[in-house]
Symmetry: C2
Amino acid sequence: MKTLKYSRQRESIKSCLMGRRDHPTADDVYLTIRQEYPNISLGTVYRNLNLLVELGEAQKLSFGYGPDRFDADLTPHYHFICRQCGRVADLPLMPFSDLDCKAQQCCDGAIDSHLIYFYGLCKACGSSPAEYGRLPKDGSL
Amino acid sequence: MKTLKYSRQRESIKSCLMGRRDHPTADDVYLTIRQEYPNISLGTVYRNLNLLVELGEAQKLSFGYGPDRFDADLTPHYHFICRQCGRVADLPLMPFSDLDCKAQQCCDGAIDSHLIYFYGLCKACGSSPAEYGRLPKDGSL
DNA sequence: GTCCCTGCAAATCCTTTGCACTCCT
DNA sequence: AGGAGTGCAAAGGATTTGCAGGGAC
């Protein structure tokens, strides 16, 4: 088992992530941290974000559109993803505290957590559905 | 709006996906289809899998470990992912038919579906947790 | 004939990794 | 001193895309 050693960069990444309610990508975090530590590298950001996830201090959100997002908000909440513009929004309600227990009953392994993603069209996109529902190619996630 | 035109490849990809209960990656599908159409290209497989998803005839599963998976089983069921070995298993129970409605109440957009991922350690991995819970580097997903 | 679809290869995007060096402890 | 963490750059993996030719309608 490895021993964790303090690093300013990790501390900064952690507090950056905890301080925002949007769902930043690794690159978003990188751009922010760079204001304080201009020499930090994207690799370091990835390494530390992954570490935070492994330590259970953050969640990684992968919902199928664009790069992964990170979320330090560990209170029960779920996410809504717009199929068209890719926007990610919190859904504050529904603390399904017994969901893991229910799932456990039909599962061989030991469940410790779950993630729920809701998909649809956000208000802005609902009136103008794209062909096939394809996402735009620009980075407007 | 584009008009769809028939193609043998798309038909084969679709029936391949509908015929299997595992959760194949694009490459898995590619390797299978190649037995029937040795000249098919991976790009075509990706194009058609994405098309099937856009048409609502398949789901793309992105849960944060390894490449995306595809699933043509649209009946209500959720997935369990082993944090250590990356195995993906169906959880047959829990048809939360009212979940979208509940979520709709705290959401601006128009929800049309949801995906639930349960995480934990599968039976085989449960007895030997990895350091930090890191996944193995080999492709054993 | 027109336009969609394909195969191929190159390009792109995201993420991880090797290495030499630095910073904690 | 020892070893974990960093910056940099290169590598890696997954997915998309441009283009010329082939197939559906």
